[in-house]
Point group: C2
Chain length 374, copies 2
């Protein structure tokens, strides 16, 4: 374990490598992951939490550990001792996704063939590939059946993909604020973000070394960020409030607080995320389609013994409720046990990451029910 | 008149220039404009049509004229002999807005002080300034009272501004798919578009001459374009259809038709629009606020003799119906005569530009009523 609380699992270091949907293979593959709580002797209390685009394995703090490991995680409100995802009761695993830059193998990793970072030589990976790598980790941890997979947004896509790829390796799934296929509008926003990165001359076909395309990446992040919020939330948070001045600047500076906020989000992101990784992860989301594509179909789950809790949020316009309903209908058509809840929240797609009593209650209750009927 | 059917009106060539909201003044000012139909002897059948961001004076074709003038205009479906805005009956004027690059004075115009294009030396203009310049044109045409001002989107903002700035110079207004103040979300998208342009090194602080920031401008346009469509329309038009290939490329090319469509929109736009102009026009929209700001208030219209037809479209998420309702309530509170209609359309903000029988019928009927009660 390193000082941020991360562990590393490396596999496919020898032999044919991890098979990928694109037809090539990849090795060695390292996954950064963190664990919380204790695996019981029956090894049947494990939850796998799947993060969104730019997340990482640090889903919650490790209170007993020093330094970075004790810092709050990205789902601190939900995961911890006594919380909805109760680490006193469950063994929680969270792993950084394949293609990311937060510890797992991705375009910033060394390409063994060249001893330089992969850059664009990294293969285009899919949500299916990410899940295939996660399954190798779960095998390594000797967990034959996960109690549940849980994830929001791109994490929710992974949760659904787990059900389709390895239906016998889990008992329940909680896809939050997600979709079973990426819509044209969502693809459009991702493509614009990619174009913003690739338009930056510093991107240099992905070969930027220590001189990343900061301006392009910041624009890409700003685009993403607006899709994670909502019209209502932005009105409430910013309205038309000016940036500490008496009146308009009549220049191309930030006049409005919402502009400074976006700049801040863009700049902050550049410090912690890799531009090529964003290209790969957005592409994986765009390729995602479980309505009967090469990647599988939720409709093929007939007879699977998996319980579902599907949750959407009223103001999420990136993956709107109608898309969750489509998912619920597809699952119910196959006779699966599905609970669905649309939670009232005005904060847009990001609602799944924010403190929400109803969300906490639903998840706690659902997991308790699954554990009891084990 | 030039071969595209445009006329030019130049004023403020001498003396103090056109006063601007920023406190400085501008001169000379040229407005490109086109007219359709005949001004009657009472000079009371004139309609002023106000265009959106990237529009121009060519609202409709001039069937009698050769060459470019005979090409379809941006509102060909609505404006022409016998159409809803009937040029057999009304004298229609459409003028390119101040700050644009389609014939009127803007950042691409020659700065008389330097004999070079203004670039960023062009003052930041407001919707109020645009309307002030238009009023000079209407004076020049010796029209003391317009029958109506009509515009969608940023054109609708100008229509509202006309009412506030010159309530005695018009009898009716038709603001379509617009708002009385730019929301935080709309400001956010405009700011991201501006950042995309300014992040392009070829932008060079606005001094790009014949070597414009094409990549940045294309990204800016793509962002705008997505906000003009709707989730539904994109699903219907593109869905997840691939770009003529058997399967995914597993490269960072266009896989989906929606991606190629956006690239096409971006590339096409770069050929006809100026990057600095886009900065200025988006800023003007962001500054727009008629809820009691420096620019005036719809609430100050009490007692004005102006009839309103306010129209919104169900799937417009850039200027959603609730914003039109706010406008209607503000006007009705002042005792004004307001008709409001939300038109069912799945094509997003752009709906106002597309053929729509209901829209045509409403506008035709409303204008007929105003003309009759003259």
């Amino acid at each position: 374990m390193d000082e941020s609380g991360r562990r590393y699992f490396t596999f496919a270091a020898h032999g044919p490598g991890l098979e990928l949907d694109c037809g090539s293979s990849l090795g060695p593959v390292t996954l950064a992951y963190e664990t919380y709580g204790q695996l019981n002797t029956a090894r049947d209390n494990a939850l796998l939490i799947l993060h969104a685009f730019t997340g990482d394995s640090h889903v919650a703090s490790h209170p007993g550990l020093p330094g970075e490991a004790a810092l709050p995680g990205w789902w601190e409100t939900m995961v911890g001792p006594g919380k909805a995802i109760d680490t006193d009761r469950y063994y929680v695993i969270c792993t950084n996704i394949l293609g990311s830059c937060r510890g797992s193998t991705g375009p910033t990793s060394l390409n063994p063939a060249t001893q330089a970072p992969y850059g664009l030589a990294f293969p285009v990976v899919t949500i299916g590939d990410m899940v295939r790598a996660q399954k190798a980790l779960i095998d390594h941890l000797e967990i034959s059946k996960l109690l549940a997979v849980i994830g929001g947004s791109v994490g929710g896509m992974q949760a659904l993909q787990w059900c389709v790829s390895y239906p016998h390796r889990l008992r329940a799934a909680i896809p939050l604020a997600t979709t079973m296929r990426h819509s044209a509008q969502a693809i459009a926003f991702n493509e614009i973000a990619r174009q913003a990165i690739m338009a930056d001359p510093k991107w240099n076909m992905g070969e930027y070394g220590d001189n990343p395309p900061e301006l392009g990446l910041a624009v890409a992040r700003m685009i993403g960020h607006v899709t994670y919020l909502s019209d209502q939330a932005m009105r409430r948070k910013f309205g038309r409030r000016l940036q500490g001045r008496q009146g308009f600047s009549f220049h191309f500076e930030s006049d409005f607080q919402v502009e400074s906020y976006l700049h801040h989000q863009g700049t902050k992101f550049v410090r912690r995320f890799d531009a090529n990784s964003l290209l790969y992860l957005t592409k994986a989301a765009d390729y995602f389609d479980l309505t009967g594509s090469d990647q599988g179909s939720l409709g093929a789950l007939a007879g699977a013994d998996i319980r579902f809790l599907v949750i959407s949020f009223t103001s999420d316009w990136l993956y709107p409720t109608y898309q969750s309903r489509e998912m619920v209908h597809a699952l119910k058509r196959e006779g699966l046990d599905v609970s669905f809840c649309e939670i009232e929240a005005d904060c847009g797609h990001d609602a799944f990451l924010l403190e929400n009593e109803r969300l906490a209650k639903m998840v706690r209750g659902f997991l308790g029910g699954v554990a009891k009927n084990g």
